[in-house]
């Protein structure tokens, strides 16, 4: 499945998260990378080096924005200052789509700076979808919501996580940033079959895929983004590609960041699935 309306009908390949330890390497060596994903909040500032670096990157590479604090699932209204600054950045980067997480993280104007799991209720789905639509209408760019990894579930949930995701994206008519590592992490923490999740997602809405590493602890798994991608996650990625087709894919590596070459090599492993996999027609 090439581009769709949720990723601006683009056909992006494998991208890498733009991180400060790699700035010098990227700008001096100009490595071949299909696209970079930036954390929007790092560039929603008034000036200085981050914006100068971004402008240099934009001269040579395609950039897609990924946010961490829109909190589509927070019960409170969107922060207008956040939206105003985000729109300025969207104009600067020309991002073909924009993603943020299907989670909450702020209450009464106080921010946790974390990606807290949603209660999977119909009320939450309705409010979240409404906010996604409002943000999309304000920013005038396609939105993709990303499933988060989670360590807790609520008694009030009325459906599974994938049913909740489907409910939100159908009501909001938005795309999905499918994070297969997060699916794996959550599946281990909540005892479900991750393939059931991947098989349940509406493939035609998948705008982008995230892959990453995680860390195992005695009683749970944490989404740490500080390791290479593990085999079970690659298997989920393979299945996601079978269903969604050739999809923009991004490797996240945010902690204990190795050299650019190592991150790049790890990301390019996705090619074996992108090249070999024949698309199943999604129903």
């Amino acid at each position: 499945m090439p581009g769709n309306r949720f990723n601006g009908f683009t056909d992006y390949g494998i991208g890498i998260g733009l991180r400060s330890p790699h700035y010098e390497h990227i700008l001096s060596r100009k490595p071949v990378v299909d696209w970079f994903e930036i954390i929007s909040e790092n560039f929603m500032i008034d000036g200085g080096r981050p914006l100068q670096i971004l402008d240099q990157i934009l001269e040579q590479y395609k950039v897609v924005q990924h946010g961490v604090s829109m909190y589509f699932g927070s019960a409170e209204k969107s922060n207008r200052e956040h939206l105003r600054r985000l729109k300025e950045l969207v104009k600067r980067t020309n991002t073909p789509w924009l993603s943020d997480h299907l989670c909450w993280g702020s209450v009464d104007g106080r921010y946790t700076h974390d990606l807290l799991p949603m209660p999977y209720t119909f009320e939450a789905a309705r409010l979240t979808a409404q906010k996604v639509r409002e943000v999309r209408d304000f920013l005038e760019v396609p939105i993709a919501v990303e499933n988060v990894s989670s360590y807790a579930e609520y008694h009030v949930s009325e459906m599974t996580e994938w049913e909740f995701l489907n409910e939100v994206v159908e009501q909001a008519d938005c795309g999905i940033l499918l994070d297969v590592n997060n699916i794996y992490v959550s599946s281990q923490n909540h005892n479900f079959n991750p393939l059931t999740y991947v098989n349940s997602v509406p493939a035609e809405r998948v705008a982008q895929i995230h892959i990453a590493g995680h860390s195992k602890f005695k009683k749970y798994i944490l989404d740490t983004h500080d390791h290479p991608v593990l085999d079970p996650v690659w298997r989920l990625y393979e299945r996601a590609i079978q269903r969604a087709g050739h999809t923009a894919t991004l490797l996240e590596w945010d902690d204990s960041i190795p050299s650019f070459e190592e991150v790049h090599r790890e990301a390019m492993k996705a090619n074996r699935f992108l090249a070999d996999t024949t698309l199943e027609v999604a129903v």
Partner: protein
Amino acid sequence: MKLAPLQRAVARAVMQPLTRSERMRRTAPGGGRMSAYAARFIKPNDRLTSFERLEIYNRQYWFRLLSSMIEDFPGLQAILGSQRFESMCKAYLTECPSRSFTIRNLGAHLETWLRQNPSWISDRRVLALDMVRLEWADIEAFDGQAKSALRSEDLREIDVPNLQLSIQPYVRLLELHYPVDDLLLDVKHGDDTPDFASNAVHERRKRIRVRAVAKLKPTQIFLAVHRLDFSVYFRRIEPEEFALLSALRSGKTIEHAIALAFRESSVPDAERGAFVRHSFQTWATLGWFCQPDENVRGGKRREKRA
């Protein structure tokens, strides 16, 4: 339970300070047992209780915020010592939780809060406040707005006496009572040295910092925290320069600002002209001047056109 009250209840628990051993408190917000509080809305699983599942988020919240504070205020940490600094941060973040979508602004109210809660810095009050002001100025100078700079040539063509000039928003002007610029550079330099993962090296670094703080003597300094080629610099300036720049920033005309700058100056009258010319030349070269906003240009406020 509806979405809003559920999120409020979870957030209260997540944002509640950890115990000394960095675990979730046994007492819930508002009293009662935390295990019962967590069990009201969090499901247990076959490996973790509701308490333990909620605790993961409680710990992540504090670890993330404390890491950010340590990154932003290493100088204050060196002055207070790690333990006291961490306790102070917990108290600050409990009273002033983040109200910004970006964690960059976490320390925005720290100076004000410390002035209201001086017991945290009682023995080094002035030094600690100087450091907090410098470290926040460092953050603001790093990513503050830069307007189109006026060059030296632009300044030659201006009608000086009544003109107003603006100072770049990213330039921060500080009057300080201790040479905390040197201390902060020492502390940051220490962080750049290779970490051999050795306790001996860590302890040595700590001793160096403690000594550096202890030997710091009060000295009034004036500082412009600015950036050049996208790097932040601390530039010591003369009291007259500080007064002149501050006056220009507050909207005074050049003539008025110069008068204010030399009000209590020891610079001889005969040397003041050269002092001002040299200062303006330097600041223009550094790109510190920019056009004032359209509605305050020319010495008087202009009406905005519809």
